[in-house]
Amino acid sequence: MTYRPTHSGPSTTSNPLRILEIVARFGTGTTAKEVTDALQMPQATAYRILNSLVADEYLARTSDLRGFALGQAISGLITAATPPTVPTAARALIEEFRGGNRFAVHLFHVSERFPQSRR
């Protein structure tokens, strides 16, 4: 997994995703230098992408401002990719309420979604 100059590949979004993968793998506090080293990416490019990922909340700066962590927007993506789970006890209560009634009873989760793009 290394840096791909965007002009040579078909995808221009792959580098931000590679950076997210690096931060996910290295964990909270991953530094810009660790990112550039791991991806062999020019520093200026890495900083530009890191800043934009922070602005969109896909990454967050750690409190000492020296590194990065996965941001709030990632939790929205994870939620969207994971089917909601309903504990057995809750399912049993719903099932009991349904019993014999002539209407449907559904449960929906309300989940926060990743930030919308700013226009």
Binding site: P84, R102, F103, A104, V105, H106, F108, V110, R113, Q116
Partner: protein, 139 residues
């Protein structure tokens, strides 16, 4: 930077499967659970659905002022309903299942054919009681 929210099916009634799942999740202004979600999150920080409100039936609310009024009413009453708005011939009532901080984390939805909706609504109080019992298990 603002956020929006989405609905996800958590527990579908096996005896009466959902019909318009795609429409429901995509066009929250047309469903009871969707309107409840919009109402609950409806402060200035949360964007309204972008673009024109899609008309799914002749009863779907497509006027944003009218929708705003209804959302205010939903916030006041703590319940949302739709009749023939998502799908001609069906109606739903949605009640919030609240997180400890009072925000709706889930919606319990009672759906039936529109002509039986009055009878379905009679179960609203029992359904509301169920939402209080569900909350500790869900959140």
């Amino acid at each position: 930077m603002f956020r929006s929210a989405s609905l996800r099916v958590a527990d579908e009634d096996p005896d009466y499967p959902l019909h318009s799942v795609f429409e429901m999740l995509r066009y929250p202004h047309a469903s009871a659970a969707g309107k409840l979600m919009l109402a609950e999150l409806g402060d200035s920080a949360v964007p309204f659905p972008k673009g024109p409100l899609v008309k799914l039936t002749q009863h779907t609310i497509t006027d944003s002022g009218q929708l705003e009024d209804q959302l205010a009413e939903i916030r006041l009453n703590g319940e949302a309903s739709e009749i023939n708005e998502l799908e001609q011939g069906s109606a739903s009532l949605a009640l919030p299942v609240r997180l400890p901080d009072g925000v709706a984390g889930a919606a319990l939805c009672l759906s039936s054919p529109a002509e039986r909706f009055t009878a379905t609504r009679e179960h609203a109080e029992a359904a509301r009681e169920l939402t209080s019992r569900l909350a500790p298990f869900l959140f």
